[in-house]
Symmetry: C2
């Protein structure tokens, strides 16, 4: 019996119904807490804790501890690709082969958790990186706050919260990171407050007005 790549090990991690339910829930790139995942999978927190530990140990999930919460997310696009390859087999597979949302409006801009994802979200993150709005630790620089002031965001407005200010969130339609974290949420709040965009009811689509999209790109300069 010649040895090959150990696909059994990783397959076993997905093979449990509770674990696969959690993985599917994370397919959109969000980060969820242990309790949320436990409830989604229909198991007790103790059991979920054991499952999540194994998934992290197997490099399928990555873990970010935040106060008394622990956020879990897929550790990369290769995990989503693997799950998609498995979904092909289920006849009832909702989204058969798409590597991301195929609705153009969804690809353009959508809600991811509470921040902006899709092309617009990635564009924002790219600009923030390229123009040094953030430093290497994803902390907002002075320059970054200058730019954020352009849509009426100031450090004084930050609510007291343990949530990280900025975080990179993987975008499954673009396969590239977009802005998450508290600033991600606040930016989206401002875009909606300024009426540059609005949420579509009962959908994750964020619809920019033509005027709003122009101003958004002007703001990014």
């Amino acid at each position: 019996m010649r040895e090959g790549p150990d696909i059994a090990r990783i397959a076993a991690l997905v093979a449990d119904p509770a674990r696969s339910a959690m993985l599917l829930a994370l397919m959109d790139g969000r980060a969820l807490t242990a309790s949320e995942l436990a409830q989604l999978a229909g198991i007790t927190p103790q059991t979920a804790s054991s499952h999540l530990a194994r998934l992290v140990d197997g490099d399928v999930l990555s873990l970010e501890a935040q106060g008394r919460h622990r956020y879990f997310r897929l550790s990369g696009p290769h995990v989503a690709a693997m799950l998609e390859a498995l979904m092909v087999f289920s006849s009832d597979a909702a989204p058969p082969l798409r590597t991301g949302p195929n609705d153009p409006a969804l690809r353009k801009a959508r809600i991811c958790y509470d921040h902006l994802a899709g092309e617009m979200g990635v564009a924002l993150y790219d600009r923030m990186q390229a123009d040094d709005w953030l430093d290497r630790d994803l902390a907002v620089t002075d320059q970054g706050w200058d730019r954020l002031a352009g849509i009426g965001l100031a450090p004084a407005q930050l609510p007291r919260s343990n949530r990280p200010l900025c975080r990179a969130c993987l975008d499954w339609s673009m396969r590239r990171p977009h802005l998450a974290g508290l600033v991600g949420k606040l930016v989206l709040d401002r875009l909606l407050a300024l009426s540059w965009a609005r949420r579509m009811p009962s959908s994750r689509v964020v619809l920019f007005t033509p005027e709003g999209e122009r101003r958004f790109h002007d703001w990014l300069c």
Copy 2:
């Protein structure tokens, strides 16, 4: 707990070391017998029989009974794609992401079991299908024998054998079928005997001479 695609069921089929070893052995599209697979996986025939039954039941393998032999093969390209997605995780993964051999010579023409695979093999099979060398049951037609005579193949030469004359074998580099079965083997034998091509030592590459490749294409007309 909302239900999603049942990826756990299919993942569980791969999650066993014996089963995954068999699946990996079938990655090149060959069909192997139950005994061969049992030996490859290092288990007894009884155990292998149980595993193979589950894999066939789960539509991961397809089964072709031939006399007292039973040939198993991956049931389609989506299975190979799934296995490849899983292989990405094993650090020692030999072929990380390629959807088939990336060596140009291997893509062009190679040995698959005992017949011709790669672009040349697929070209042959395409022509056989398009020009009715075969009927719907993959039996060789009179017209087919006329054409096969062009490289010196005649029905009288067929050894007594229970092996099917022609079979379609999935080609992982092309994702399309090529000619397998006894005729597949004999055609390759003739190509080598005519010195249109030769095997490279300790490799699966089949190297056509320029003259041989020209004659091959002339033969296919």
